[in-house]
Amino acid sequence: MKLAGLSLLLSGWILVLFALVLLPSPAERAAFVVAALAVEGLGLALELRAHRDGAGERP
């Protein structure tokens, strides 16, 4: 799950780069950047959840 979270974070950033390079329209670009941030948010949530589940008491 940690790896999936990190992958989603990175994927979100790559989407941002693609939006900048491939989309000429400002509205489309903005929408794509927001969507990419949502992907990153999902990755962060997954990462938080993965660490929460493993955050028990240590010996």
Partner: protein
């Protein structure tokens, strides 16, 4: 437009001389929020972290960061040139000591110390001094310069305006992204890797409260940081945002207003939530206001700066509680929220309220996405690798007896002995 002139240089030097008060205040605040049995290790660690950050930055960091308009490496992608890293010699060679780049280097020698203190505070009570120093070298020598080049060194984030018609490009006049948010993300990674302190999350019960050992340190550190932060915002505005030195009073007023808003909002929220104001959360509210002000102080009107601080301070106790209770994150200094979230909030506000051409908000979103989507995984990967070589977490015995005795061999308060029967009625 950059208005840096020969007359700005003495003013910048004067401001840079005040900047160390920001990390000093933060170090004091972190030490106060710590447990008494780890206070000396926390403060000695703060000194070591600031020293190593300065050295690593001067040895390698500056050569990777550079300054706008100086030599750099670029790659071409999609018909656009992406300036991604500077190409300067190591050990500050080639710096023109009478030019703005010298002031920028001097400012950042202290700024990296402030940055490195953020994760150090979050790893308190369980982070080994040695691995904390190693992580600092990584942070100040590579991670910070890489991102700072993109924002302050004429890199691709700064070029979003001319290259993609996104406002004036990613704007971060006081280090809300390069210092605060990056530090907050590093703090998050450190907390993830270290795990919670012993006894923080007992089985089948709510998280245990581990109170600050010296609230006077916390509040006094907050006051000292206010001076340093004002200088940091003012100097960075001149150097990195081309602010007119004559307009600096507005930056200073905005910094103060944002901090005041953060403090008062946190005071009100904790009063309503817990029945009485919480001193440590109020201090952190003020610091959150300062962190948010780094994005807005040089750009917006005083009411907007006050609004930024109020929202940062009002949300701080709620997000800290959420992260602790729901996400089981043990962050003794609150650095993840105080610096990470508040920096993020400031960057969003500057995208909305700063006077800039169309597309500025999208530029701010691209900068935030880069921090969360690229820098966070990069920091995580590097810290996880470092953790394999130099384990972050101390020995269980170190946690039991305290980091002072375990790592330094002596406590911060050797004459402070508590006898369990001292307060019982005789």
């Amino acid at each position: 437009m950059n208005t840096f002139s020969s007359s700005s240089s003495p003013l910048c030097v004067l401001l840079v001389l005040l900047v160390p008060l920001a990390p000093i205040g933060l170090a004091l605040l972190n030490a106060g929020l710590n447990r008494s049995r780890s206070a000396a290790q926390a403060l000695l660690g703060s000194l070591c972290v600031m020293a190593l950050a300065a050295v690593a930055y001067c040895v390698a960091g500056w050569s990777l960061e550079g300054f706008a308009g100086t030599a750099s490496h670029t790659v071409s992608l999609g018909g656009v040139s992406w300036n991604w890293i500077a190409a300067r010699p190591l050990f500050l060679r080639g710096v023109q000591w009478t030019a703005p780049e010298a002031c920028a280097a001097a400012l950042q020698v202290f700024a990296v110390g402030l940055l490195a203190l953020i994760p150090w505070g979050s790893g308190a009570d369980r982070w080994r001094l040695g691995s904390g120093c190693a992580a600092t070298v990584l942070l100040a020598g590579f991670i910070y310069p890489l991102f700072a080049h993109w924002v302050w060194g004429g890199g691709w984030l700064a070029q979003l305006g001319p290259a993609f018609h996104l406002g004036r490009g990613f704007m971060d006049p006081g280090g809300a992204a390069t210092i605060q948010m990056l530090g907050g993300l590093m703090a998050l990674v450190v907390v993830w890797i270290l795990g919670p302190r012993r006894g923080k999350f007992p089985e089948n019960s709510p998280p245990a409260a581990i109170p600050a050992h010296n609230i006077v340190f916390v509040l006094f550190g907050c006051m000292i940081a206010l001076v340093g932060w004002s200088a940091l915002n003012a100097a960075a505005a001149i150097l990195f945002a081309g602010a007119d030195p004559a307009a600096l009073p507005r930056t200073v007023v905005n910094t103060m207003l944002s901090a005041c808003g953060g403090l008062l909002a946190a005071l009100l929220v904790t009063r309503l939530r817990f029945g009485k104001p919480d001193a440590s959360l109020c201090a952190n509210g003020a610091i959150a206001g300062l962190a948010a002000s780094s994005a807005v102080a040089a750009l917006v009107s005083p009411p907007a700066a006050l609004f930024t601080g109020v929202v940062a301070g009002a949300l701080l106790p709620l997000i800290i509680e959420f992260l602790e209770v729901r996400c089981r994150l043990d962050d003794p200094s609150g650095g993840i929220v105080v610096h990470g979230f508040a920096g993020l909030w400031g960057l969003l506000v500057s995208g909305f309220l700063a006077p800039a051409p169309a597309g500025q908000f999208v530029a701010q979103l691209v900068g935030i996405a880069t921090l969360v989507g690229l820098m966070l995984p990069l920091v995580y990967l590097l810290c996880a690798l470092l953790n394999r070589v130099a384990p972050f977490r101390t020995h269980p015995e170190g946690e039991r007896i305290g980091m002072d005795l375990h790592e330094l061999g002596a406590g911060a308060y050797p004459e402070f002995v508590t006898h369990s029967d001292e307060f019982l009625p005789r």
